[in-house]
């Protein structure tokens, strides 16, 4: 995920701004990290360069 995406992505629940917490970065992308809602505090993972902005109840792995 490129940082420029921060301009448009928001918390799926309350549409408020997100804060980017990078964990691992490449030249121009965040590969691992977190997006934290500045309003509700909900955390959204960035894994293998892909932000997962599903609502929290849809994000978690289904029970096997």
């Amino acid at each position: 995920m490129k940082e420029s995406l921060m301009e448009i992505i928001r918390c799926p629940m309350d549409k408020q701004e997100l804060e980017l917490e990078p964990i691992q970065e490449s030249d121009d992308e965040v590969l691992e990290g977190r997006l934290v809602c500045t309003e509700c505090g909900e955390e959204y993972p960035i894994e293998e360069g892909i932000p997962n902005l599903l609502p929290p109840d849809m994000r978690d792995d289904p029970p096997a």
Binding site: K15, N52, P55
Partner: protein, 225 residues
């Protein structure tokens, strides 16, 4: 089975690429009609393999963002795209993770009717589009396309089957101006000679001709006032 499990399984099976190949026959005409200017931001709703996002970036020098609810679809889509103007993210049609007026246009192929609350999704789409933005909504599954009705039997996710009139009315109700509506024929799919029917999908050659060459893909274009 949840939508996510269903479509993750499709992606793992390589069905994303199969859909890309078939859907391209009509999707390219939909994309070709979009009045995209260089540098504009486009949303591809239910991006699958991400071909539309790639094509928009490439042909129109746009910045395309593909959203899909299936992490496996998005992983595949990211792996096929090298273009820095193309981005992908995981998200659901029911909770678009975007700021107001984020996009200059939106596109969706064979995906919109999976939305759990299609009217809500249309309203939310309107929100994330700027004034003057277009939404090109393309579907093969719709009321007038009777051959498509049985598709619901082979998938557990509920699918919304609107008629052409219902698409226009829903766009209107969500606050879009309906700018155009059309069925785009698939002139490329190969249709076997009559003696090979019935096939798995069609009783007769006529039925297959109707499904593809006559009905094809329903396109509804809305514009944000």
């Amino acid at each position: 089975m949840s939508a996510r499990e269903e479509f993750d399984a499709w992606a793992a099976d390589g069905r994303d690429r199969g859909m890309e190949e078939r859907h391209w026959h009509t999707a390219k005409h939909v994309l070709g009609r979009m009045p995209v200017e260089s540098g504009e931001r486009i949303l591809d709703l239910g991006t699958g393999s991400g071909y539309a996002a790639r094509a928009l970036a490439d042909a129109a020098d746009a910045r395309a963002c593909g959203l899909d609810g299936s992490p496996e679809m998005v992983r595949n889509a990211r792996s096929y795209a090298e273009d820095p103007r193309v981005e992908f993210l995981v998200g659901d049609f029911g909770a678009l993770p975007f700021a107001d007026s984020s996009f200059d246009h939106a596109f969706s192929m064979e995906a919109f009717y999976y939305a759990a609350s299609p009217h809500e999704t249309l309203k939310d789409l309107r929100r994330v589009l700027r004034s003057g933005a277009t939404f090109s909504c393309a579907v093969n599954y719709y009321e007038e396309n009777t051959a498509s009705h049985e598709w619901q039997d082979s998938i557990e996710i509920p699918m919304t089957r609107w008629s052409m009139d219902e698409y226009r009315a829903a766009f209107d109700e969500a606050g879009f101006h309906v700018a155009a509506q059309d069925t785009i024929p698939d002139r490329e799919i190969e249709i076997p000679p009559s003696d090979e029917f019935p096939t798995e999908g069609f009783e007769s050659r006529e039925a297959m001709v109707e499904r593809y060459r006559t009905l094809g893909t329903l396109l509804t274009v809305g514009v944000v006032p």
